[in-house]
């Protein structure tokens, strides 16, 4: 009884701000109010045709993909070494590679701002990509490391004994084993980058502005239902990516390694 009431209250607390956004996205009014006086698609249509939102959306998708791919190229070899190496200092190196997780992104953001202006580059896509790759690298490393630690090293040894060179055994044996970790890590990495505000706020320029920054700028200047509409579109996109992955590949099949019989 008490438990049921608690879950209902907690659910209301968690879902209310999200639900309110989804409802206001369909308002017919020209101002933000809840409940809404009526429903229409005017704000959704307006936002979909507005380059002030659509360009940042494209930038965010591109940046998220680029950060996920960069993180994979850095994290997969590192995870292999950490899982198999058994060398002195492995724990310290792992802690170092995971350390960006515990740093407030704002500090990284200011630091990158000074750093890139010292290098004479200023804000821009490279700065954004470096910042986001630093932030998502630990997520990628952790998921790949978890899979690599659970994998059976005998499989690679078998490939080696059968005469495969290291590169071929990596490509045909190790990589398929690590795939669930890489896919899960890339998904996390994309979602984290897609949502990141602090680095994006200081490092993006007008032409490389990401979606969260565009939304934040819009709220600061005009408080209107366009925010709700673009937010709803963003939520739908994230859910669509997850559903597409689930239908296409099966998320649990991608993320959980096949169990050995």
């Amino acid at each position: 009884m008490i438990r049921g009431a608690y879950v209902v209250l907690a659910g209301l607390f968690i879902l209310t701000p999200l639900m309110v956004v989804c409802v206001v996205a369909f308002t017919s009014a020209s101002f933000v109010s809840f409940p809404t006086p009526g429903f229409s698609l005017r704000w959704i249509i307006k936002v979909l045709a507005d380059p002030a939102f659509m360009r940042p959306l494209a930038n965010s998708v591109l940046l998220g993909l680029a950060a996920a791919v960069s993180a994979a190229f850095l994290a997969v070899p590192a995870a292999l070494a950490l899982a198999r190496g058994g060398f002195r200092g492995a724990a310290e190196i792992e802690a170092f590679l995971l350390s960006p997780l515990s740093l407030p992104a704002l500090i990284l953001s200011i630091a990158l701002l000074f750093y890139f202006s010292r290098l004479g580059m200023g804000a821009g896509f490279i700065g954004l990509l470096v910042g986001h790759t630093v932030i998502v690298l630990p997520y990628m490393l952790r998921t790949v490391l978890a899979v690599a630690r659970g994998a059976d090293p005998a499989l690679e040894e078998a490939a080696f004994v059968l005469g495969a060179d290291p590169w071929r055994s990596f490509l045909h044996v190790t990589l398929p084993i690590l795939r669930p970790g890489i896919v899960a890590g890339a998904l996390f990495a994309f979602l984290v980058s897609f949502d990141e505000v602090a680095v994006a706020l200081l490092m993006s320029t007008v032409s490389t502005m990401t979606l969260p920054v565009a939304i934040l700028n819009h709220v600061a200047n005009n408080y209107d239902p366009a925010i709700a509409a673009i937010s709803l579109i963003k939520i739908v996109l994230v859910v669509a990516v997850l559903v597409a992955l689930e239908l296409g590949f099966g998320l649990d099949r991608l993320m959980l390694s096949r169990r050995r019989p």
């Binding site: 701000p17 309110v20 809840f34 409940p35 190196i93 500090i107 949502d195 934040l216």
Partner: protein
Amino acid sequence: MRRSTVALLLAPAILFLLFGFLAPIAVGLGESLRAGLGLYGKIFGDSYYLEVIASTLALSAVVTLISLAIGYPYALILARARGWRKAALLLLLVAPLLVNVVVRSFGWMVVFGRSGLINAVLAAVGLPAIDMLNSWTAIVIALVHVLMPFMVLSIAATLEALDPALEEAAATLGARPLRTFVHVVVPLSLHGAVTGSILVFALCMGSFVTVMMMGGNSTMVLPLLIYQQLTVAGDQAFAAALGMVLLATVVAVFWLQGRLVRSMRS
């Protein structure tokens, strides 16, 4: 695996973090020290900046305690649930994580705003409207909403690992459910509660978008002050010095966690 192979595999990630993470922070530290320790003297010698640091710590402490109070029962129910109930509770908990902080803050603005949900409810029962936006309460509620899932997941992880046989043993030996809970379940899940609290506290210390959107300019916290120094005042060196103070605070919090967890294990 040979030494040289290990080095070759680790090199890209280590070099990337050296040049993309440590070097920028070193440059930031250098920027803040350009005029010696003067900027730090300005921060610690001025009551305004000390008040901002104190209010940042106070806000983080309150948000952490409320997240713990609301999150602990959720973690307990989540850890005990089975089958579809567990999946549903987990989905409910992590669904907001897929929604941007900016969007969630906007949602709370609609809830608290003049023509928002709360005032609609108040009007329906005949009560006068209140303006909750730009208040400390609004900031705390929105921050708890953002950070509570991290608390719940940390606690649930330790509760999951708890052997149900321990509780059964306590019950068999005649302990009432409440006694079992206080003397068996709570001490064994303390580890998760400490980890979750430190995580929420540290994340809260660094949040500024939620504070900026919910609080207007009513509440000043360290990260927001840093952001304003950069964008409004344009004082880069001072922003760097404030950033280093924030960094030192967060590092101290994590150091404290390490000590607490180690002393709990022994």
